[in-house]
């Protein structure tokens, strides 16, 4: 196919100098060597992830439980979003290889068409990753909960179900902006934003919330539905966990007891580098580092693709008589896709 051996290399004189035993140009060989070292970097990161996962004593999060949302549609679609991201990246790899193929026919228009498609695919992937990160960082409406009473005291549970919308806050103690009796009505999302901040700062206690202006209020909200607390403890062997589930009224009592305890960190929403609601803190750290490092590669790839596209459209490569630059940037772009295939498997699937 492409990259045909077009110059004959004689085995007996191949290594005698003045010839390339590999039968590729200097630039392409160096791109391959760079990719070899970059792949070892990603290999090292994924192995470090595996090491941490196997040493960790608490249960490791499961991909299809952690990533089960779609934009606009909410929860209940396990892995659909990452599958879509994977598909986008595979398709952009295909358009890239089509650009290379067009280059071998000296079809400048074809190269331009397919490179534009590749660049658009790259932007789509970056946008998807931004949404994914934002979703991962903000987390669910429930967060994860530390259970404070009963036989599971001290365990942390992830919470599934539907969080009833907040309706209003009623001020019971005046602050800088509100006086007693004020009813604060905003959209459920805005109210939840205040609520979440207060819970994280330990400012929700015994059914009262301290708002950021210092006023204290009670809240009115719809009932939660289908609440379920899932406690995972480390099983024997490695990543398999022992799972305990608490349903219904019991779950609600335990959950709201922790919310109303005023204990900082009893509820964890989303993820940062210190902790996350999905599982051990290392999980979040590796998520940010590995997908971030990969995303940075995608970003670099898009930038390089744009530069090469400009070269193609100015006719620079056509004058040279070959489109090897497109082939070289193509190698890098496929590599980015290749890394994602592994990240997808080890982060989301297994």
């Amino acid at each position: 196919m492409a990259g045909h051996a077009t110059t004959h290399v004689d085995a007996t004189t191949a290594w005698g100098g003045k010839t390339s035993p590999f039968n590729v140009s200097y630039g392409k060989l160096m791109m391959w060597f760079f990719l070899v070292s970059d792949a070892l970097t990603f290999g090292g990161l994924l192995v470090a992830y595996g090491y941490t996962r196997h040493t960790t004593q608490s249960a490791w999060p499961i991909g299809e439980e952690t990533f089960d949302s779609l934009p606009f549609l909410g929860h209940g679609y396990p892995l659909m979003y990452v599958a879509l991201m994977t598909f986008i990246l595979i398709v952009s790899s295909v358009t890239m290889v089509l650009a290379v193929e067009a280059g071998h026919r000296m079809d400048k228009k074809g190269v331009m068409k397919w490179m534009i498609a590749t660049i658009i695919g790259g932007f789509f992937f970056l946008g998807s990753q931004a949404w994914e990160w934002s979703h991962f960082i903000h987390g669910s409406h429930f967060g994860s909960v530390e259970i404070l009473s009963g036989e599971h005291t001290g365990s942390r549970a992830i919470v599934k179900g539907h969080f009833g919308d907040l309706e209003s806050f009623t001020v019971v103690q005046a602050g800088k902006h509100h006086k007693v009796g004020d009813v604060i009505k905003e959209t459920p999302d805005e109210l939840f934003h205040h609520f979440r901040t207060a819970v994280m700062n330990g400012q929700v206690k015994d059914g009262k919330i301290t708002l950021h202006d210092g006023s204290v209020a009670t809240w009115k909200k719809h009932n939660d539905e289908h609440m379920e607390l899932i406690i995972k403890t480390d099983g024997t062997g490695h990543s398999l966990a022992k799972v305990t589930k608490i349903h219904g009224k019991d779950a609600e009592v335990k959950y709201w007891e922790s919310v109303n305890s005023g204990k900082k960190g009893a509820i964890i929403y989303g993820a940062d580098l210190q902790s996350n609601e999905y599982g051990p803190s290392q999980y979040g750290q590796f998520f940010f580092f590995i997908t971030g490092f990969h995303g940075f590669h995608v970003f670099s790839g898009v930038v390089i693709n744009i530069l090469i596209f400009l070269g193609v459209s100015s006719g620079k490569y056509h004058k040279r008589g070959h489109y090897e630059m497109v082939e070289k940037t193509g190698l890098y772009w496929h590599f980015v896709d290749l890394v994602w295939v592994f990240v997808f498997t080890f982060f989301y699937l297994v």
């Binding site: 196919m1 990259g3 140009s25 990719l35 196997h54 994977t86 089509l98 026919r105 480390d234 997808f344």
Partner: protein, 122 residues
């Protein structure tokens, strides 16, 4: 002065419209294979859960399918399959030696540390 000691290879790897057609057919075929594998993986991931006794088979299956996908990308999309053998092995052999060894040594050590903590740790 024009240098005659540099021989540029693979630069004039041009092909005709007809060869191009064949190559494009292969590209679309590989695209279909990669998409089907990914769809299959997601389907299995949604139906078989990690607490199932079948999980270890699924896990091995996922890793096998990943290597299959990687093979298609490297050999077809990156054209490594069409390069000379010596280049192919220069690029692939380091992984077969170092990465497999690294995985083996890191996971063995991790399991040992895990057991040690479980047995003696707080």
């Amino acid at each position: 002065m024009e240098r005659d000691d540099i021989i540029e290879y693979s630069l004039d790897a041009h092909h005709s419209e007809e060869q191009g057609k064949k190559i494009r057919r292969k590209i679309w075929l590989v695209t279909a294979i990669l998409t089907l594998i990914t769809a299959f993986e997601v389907g299995v991931g949604m139906t078989v859960h990690q607490d199932s006794s079948m999980w270890w088979i699924v896990k091995l299956l996922f890793i096998g399918l990943t290597l299959l996908k990687a093979g298609y990308i490297v050999l077809v999309f990156m054209h490594l399959g069409d390069e000379r053998k010596v280049l192919k092995y220069c690029i692939l052999v380091p992984y077969f030696i170092f990465v497999i060894y690294l995985i083996f040594i890191a996971l063995t050590e991790a399991n040992a540390v895990h057991t040690a903590w479980e047995t003696y740790g707080g």
